[in-house]
Symmetry: C2
Subunit: 220 residues, 2 copies
């Protein structure tokens, strides 16, 4: 998939004829490391090439420039988060347990990519050839979450709702609170945020049927 930021006029540069996925990955890894250290706005293409042990010319064989690098990094990170959610959601516990594992995976991801996450929140709204990049990212993640919600609704572990809206609501809430957390790290620990979001989604979208709440938990 070749997703580009929209700009006019597009820059015409020579691209790699036989791109080497390992070289591309080295550039993305170098950029990822630098962003973790200093954030995206200060990042320079020269630095990325240097950290990757490659020339600036090679960088431009793989990416059109900084905005193109950003779009590709965002796509990589979205897929990384999707895979982490996938692993969490495909385990064997109850829906509540699997949602909780997914929340852990999400918070780990946010914590490890703090500067990148905040930059995504602020700049992910860029228009690309596949539309607004963050709309695409939410769509990818919602596709991962939705089957779990459908399963929960069918087994009555969850109130019946529009599954797409529910997935978007959970993700929208998680992203907003994660950004708020990173801006207020002195006020809230990871554990407080985790407990808050767990109560929110377990009392909100995943209420056990009322009758079963008033009895002791059933044996599994």
């Amino acid at each position: 998939m070749d997703i580009k930021p929209i700009r006019t006029p597009p820059r015409k540069r020579k691209r790699a004829r036989n791109p080497n996925p390992e070289v591309r990955q080295r550039l993305l890894d170098a950029a990822g490391g630098l962003i973790r250290e200093e954030g995206f706005p200060k990042l320079r293409v020269e630095e990325v090439a240097e950290r990757a042990g490659l020339s600036v010319g090679t960088f431009y064989l793989y990416f059109e420039g900084k905005q193109d690098l950003f779009a590709n990094l965002l796509i990589e990170h979205t897929k990384e988060l999707r895979d982490a959610l996938h692993r969490a959601y495909r385990t064997s516990g109850t829906v509540a347990e699997r949602l909780s594992s997914g929340l852990d995976a999400f918070l780990d991801f946010v914590w490890e990519n703090q500067k990148g996450f905040l930059y995504f929140r602020d700049a992910g709204t860029v228009q690309t050839t596949i539309g607004r990049l963050s709309t695409w990212a939410f769509q990818i993640l919602s596709q991962e979450l939705k089957p779990l919600l459908v399963e929960a609704m069918e087994s009555n572990e969850m109130r019946r709702e529009d599954a797409e809206l529910s997935a978007q609501a959970i993700l929208g809430q998680f992203f907003h609170i994660a950004g708020y957390w990173l801006e207020n790290k002195d006020r809230y620990s990871r554990e407080e945020i985790k407990r808050f979001l767990t109560r929110l989604s377990s009392v909100g979208l995943v209420p056990r049927p009322l009758e079963s709440r008033t009895h002791p938990p059933r044996e599994r």
Copy 2:
């Protein structure tokens, strides 16, 4: 309050010595009308001046340019939404009823300002002299919502939670779902969105105490 987008170097233009609030409001209203019709990206300063019946020179006595106009419009709209929430939250019903009135006010605001709302979502992350503009906007709105949540927690209409996090979670969810709704207007009606968000916040953050749910509602 004089809030400016951060840019270097700042443009030096003559500003109005004795700014006339009515002239400023005419320019903001003209810009608001044009944005409702065609969105912000296409907006030209010349058009705003023409619609307001003023000269481009006058425009620049009040705003430094398009970005400054955007920041001021966002501030005006945030205050407008805050005032609408204020009126809804200060009525005399139960917390659930007042939250529902606030949700109506929010959805009306989003519907009347569709293009402006989506543009805010995508560009409100701009850095200004008071920090990220959308962080400021969420802060203003959360200050309006928080006292209602505190009241509900004290009267046991709501589970006890960190009030600031709860307000941020509700707002983050409402903003995300509102943006999703505007992008999928063919799939969801205003009523469907309203019902979904009402269930989400009333079952989520405002559960009646469990005991009282299993009995018939008490008389008021």
